[in-house]
Each structure stands twice: as C-alpha cells, then as structure tokens.
Symmetry: C2
C-alpha cells in the first residue's frame, strides 16, 4: 500500500456509512481518493466530505478497480457477493457485516483487544457486532489480569442498530402514540415507541437469537478463548442511538471492584463514569457521539465470591461499528 | 371481621391508589364502606367508584375509626407514621410501601407464593416491591420443583414505578425531544425520554441501590430461603407502564426448558407467551392492564448446565402493586 490510500465506502448512505465518512474526515485518514458506493436506489445522492460534495455511485463490477481499501457496511448478502470481487481487484475489505466474522480465515478485530491479528488476513478483515465490541472493550482489560469464567449479559439496544430507517420509525411512532394514534411498525415487527421487545434477529434452534449468539461466538474468537462461557439476552429499547449492557462477570479467582475500576480507568477506549452520590452512571444519551465506551456502577456481586456487576453505554454507530472499522484501517496502514 | 368490610385506601389519588379503587370494584370486594384518604393537598378531589362519586378526605387522627382494613399506598414515611395508628384503632393494614417489609413481625405476602403466612400478622401485612412480585410469581413454581441456587436479574422498569407524575414526565419530555427542545427532568434526576438510566433509588454501601437490594432480601423472606443467591441490576426505561425482567436462573440440579414451560403453563398468575417463529414474546405494552405476569423465551442457558434464561413483563401498577394488595385482602377474608 502507498502512503495515501484509495478508499471505497460500500453502503455510504446508511447510518454507519455516513459515520464512516465523517470519521475519515475528522481523523484525517490519509486518502488519495474516496469513492462512495451504494445500491442503484441511492446512486446519485450527494454527501459532503471535508467541504467537498461527493456523488454516490451505484456499485458494479468495476467499482473496486484501483481501490486499496473497502469499508463495507451494506449488509451480509452484499458483502458475500462483493467482498471477494474487491479482494480479487487487489483491495483489502474491512467488513462490517456478519458474513465473514466466524470464518477461520478472517481476522475479527477490536483494536483495543487483538490488534496483533490484523495482518493475518487473506483480503478480508471482519468488524465485530456492536454489542460484542462494546462488551469486549470493557471486559478485555479485566480478563487479561483475572481470567473470566462466565458472563451473563443483558442488553438495552437502541434503534440505530437496525439503521437510519429504524431510528426514524421510533420518532414517528412516538409522535403517533403521543397524538393518540396507533403506532405503525414497518422496520421492526412490533411497536418500539414506549415499548421494548426481545431482539428480532432470526431465532436459532438453541432458543437464542442470532444477535445473542454473536455476543457468545465472536467474543470467544476475539479473546482467543473458547472456554469462556457467555449467556446473553438482547433487548431492543426505545432509544435512538447508543446501546447499554448490564454485565455480570464471574472470574476464576476474585477480582475486587476497586482493582477493576483501576484497570478500566487505564484501559484504552473506555471512560469510567461513576458519581455514586448523585446516582450518576453511563447513560445512552451521554454515550451518543462519543468514541469511548462509558462504564460504571462496578460493584462486588453479592451473589458470587468471584463476581462483579457492571454497566456500560456505548455509541452503537461509532465504536460499535464505524469507528472500530476506521481504527482497523488505521492499524492496517500503521505497520 | 364481618362479612363485608369497611375499607380505607390511604394514598387514593396516586397511580396505585386509583388502581386499588378500580380493582375493589371489578373484583366485587365485599365492602360495607369505602373511605378514600390522601394528603391535605389532594383532599376534596372526587373519584368515581361503581358509578358513585367519592370525595377524597384528608388523613387525620380519626381517619381509621371504624375501619376494618387499610390499603396503604402513600409512601414509606406515611406508612411509618399512620399504620400503627390504624392498627391501634383495630384495623388491619396492607402496606404497599417498603417501611415494614423486612420487619420479622410483618408477613410479606405474594398470594401465589406464601399465602399460608397471611394470618401471622400483628396488624400489618406488607406488599412486596413490584420487581420482587413479578420475579417471584414466575420463579416460585420452578423453585418448588427444582431449587434455585442463584439468580442474575436485569430489569427494564417503566416510569409508573415512580408514580403518575413520572408517567406524565416521560410523556412531556418525549414531546419536548420530538420538538427539538431540551427535556426538563423534575421527578427523575435525568431525562428518561429516549434515554435510560440505572434505578435512582438511594445508593447503599454495597454498591447496590435500594431497589436492587429489595429484590434480593424480599425474595429470600418470601421464599423462606436465606440461602438463595441473587444479584440484580435495576434500570429505568422510557416505558409508561409494566416492567420487564431478564432472569438467568441457576438451579442446584438441571431443569429442562420444556419442564419449566410445563410448570409455568400451569402456574397461577402467569401466562406463557412464546411464538418462536414470529419472535413474539412478552412486551410491556401487552402486559399493561393484565393481571397475569407474561413469561417467555424460556431456554437452556448455553453457559451453565444447570441454567435457564427467561424473560417476563408484568403490569407494575397491577400485579406489581395494587392487585397483589387486593389479593392479600381477599386471602385475609376468605379464611
């Protein structure tokens, strides 16, 4: 790769795509060229980048010619169809979909956790699921010092995880409810305004939905530890942006809450938010737009000698998706 | 006690008080008289009962004369001040506050769990906290067949738990946010519209807030089992009414998900809601106004051989407060 890079964003008009564009600008990623790609439906849309107006192009067989790096965020099927073509054209693909995450030939990277694996790619590097990234950034610094045996995770996931249309749906539904009208779900299967429901990703034979299995399987791969036990309940809540998670951590040996706080205070990508007197801990409205995952309310588990309970909120679009992808790109070109 | 009863509702104008009035009507509680009591501020308000208009009276030293039964829902301080007076006047008090719940001389009753203890009172019977009631109605039928060792609970609690003003605040804040204005929290410490935060009950030295300790301590008392281990993270979400809970249950011996479903299908006060194909499980908008606690998504815990995960939603004002109190009253007069 050269000192500046020809980058294509696949899925440029989506919530994550737009955040990728903003992050490449604000983080001054060394660009020789920026190509915005989307479906034929969105082609022709214009988006601004560092004051310039860029036209979104429809993706075709020649889209990846003379491209060094593809940041893909257009869903699993699109990635399955297009990532091999991009790789064949000589590009490296950082894929935000779930298509390649569990492929043994594809590194699954969180820069704060397993940066050393970034170069073990064969053209594709996968970006983990949002709930996995937020959990792992917080849990990894503890796991390194005191290995974790088991995690019980409950999530509080915002509409943004289902894209820009889902965020718009919550807003319009909320207005409907306030006006005494029946909300009309289109993106989600059930109304989300003033309601919540278990995550609507496809159900599996295990009784876990795919979103929950991602937290389990991706964490094991990223940590390089297939022995770590995880159970998760993923819930969609009427929040626009930023996911929260209640984590119960069981370690093999006790880890004190004070030690955990000290470790998290020094951890990259994490900000400790705890004001016990004012009952002030991480909240999604405050995590929105931030790079760091907010963590707090770290306490000794009264039900287990080797347990800790903690609470986190993190921007799902940013660190949960776009920022992590850009960090992978930065890692890739830095070494 | 006679065959019909002179009942006073203390805190009649609150969200729970109004529900108590409705339940006494719809369940045809045998009333000789119904007295509605509140603070001087609310005195003079009129409320309807079976077509009659009743005037709310200010509570004073003579309020409990010639009263058989007091249903108290006016907060812990009011109960502490007034319940002993009511008992001295010869009334039995069913107290919805936390004031007497952990008093060893006060039975703490969920009619589906420990009805046999209702007569062991010395004038006061306590109604458990909403999150405790909803959890215990579901967990007890399992615990009786296969004893539970440990529970990890995460809650999704609606505004109604903080009263009618809190519900109004979420509505007005939501309108503000949709109109581009800053939400202005008064009842809650932080904005709840399109946001969520850890439960704002007073923090304790354990790092758990009081709401969380209630789930732990009240469950042990109600189950009559001080060995059961519980940890809880209580979270306030922007829902108007009905709480939800993600429960991870660890049994001493394995209990299959199928057996648990069978037990819960037969359990009183519980409705199994599971349509796996349509990803349809309990939701707070559907639990609102129902007597039963909705439970579903019962599955084998992939992280523990003796574990089950499940999900519930229940009407916090109804079974979580007013209904349970009326059921205690019914139990008291039935035997």
């Amino acid at each position: 790769m050269s000192r500046s890079y020809r980058v294509a964003i696949l899925g440029a008009t989506g919530a994550v795509g737009k955040e990728l564009i903003e992050l490449l600008a604000t983080r001054n990623f060394p660009l020789a060229d920026l190509k915005l790609l989307a479906s034929p439906r969105s082609a022709g849309t214009t988006l601004s980048f560092k004051g310039e107006t860029l036209r979104v192009e429809s993706t075709d067989t020649s889209s990846f010619q003379a491209i060094d790096l593809v940041l893909a965020s257009a869903g699993g099927n699109t990635s399955k169809a297009l990532a091999p073509r991009a790789v064949a054209s000589g590009a490296i693909v950082i894929d935000n979909s779930s298509a390649y995450r569990m492929d043994p030939n594809v590194p699954l990277i969180i820069p704060e956790v397993n940066p050393q694996e970034v170069h073990q790619h064969q053209g594709i590097i996968a970006n983990p699921n949002c709930t996995t990234i937020l959990m792992n950034v917080v849990v990894w610094p503890l796991h390194q010092v005191q290995p974790i045996k088991r995690i019980v995770a409950s999530t509080y996931q915002s509409a943004s995880g289902a894209g820009a249309k889902a965020m718009a749906e919550v807003i319009s539904q909320s207005r409907d409810v306030l006006d005494g009208k029946q909300p009309n779900p289109e993106v989600f299967p059930y109304p989300l305004a003033f309601n919540l429901f278990l995550h609507n990703s496809p159900m599996t034979a295990t009784g876990y939905c795919e979103e929950e299995l991602k937290m389990i399987n991706e964490t094991r791969k990223i940590f390089g530890d297939s022995s770590i036990r995880i159970t998760a309940t993923c819930v969609r809540v009427p929040i626009l942006r930023a996911h929260s998670e209640a984590l119960n951590l069981e370690f093999h040996q006790p880890l004190s809450a004070d030690k955990a706080k000290m470790l998290l205070q020094q951890a990259p990508g994490v900000r400790l938010v705890e004001d016990w007197q004012n009952n002030y801990f991480p909240m999604p409205i405050e995590a929105s737009g931030l790079d760091e995952v907010l963590v707090g309310r770290i306490r000794q588990d009264l039900s287990h000698d080797c347990g800790l309970d903690l609470w986190l909120s993190g921007d799902q679009i940013r660190k949960g998706a776009a920022l992590n992808a850009v960090q992978i790109a930065e890692l890739l070109i830095s070494s």
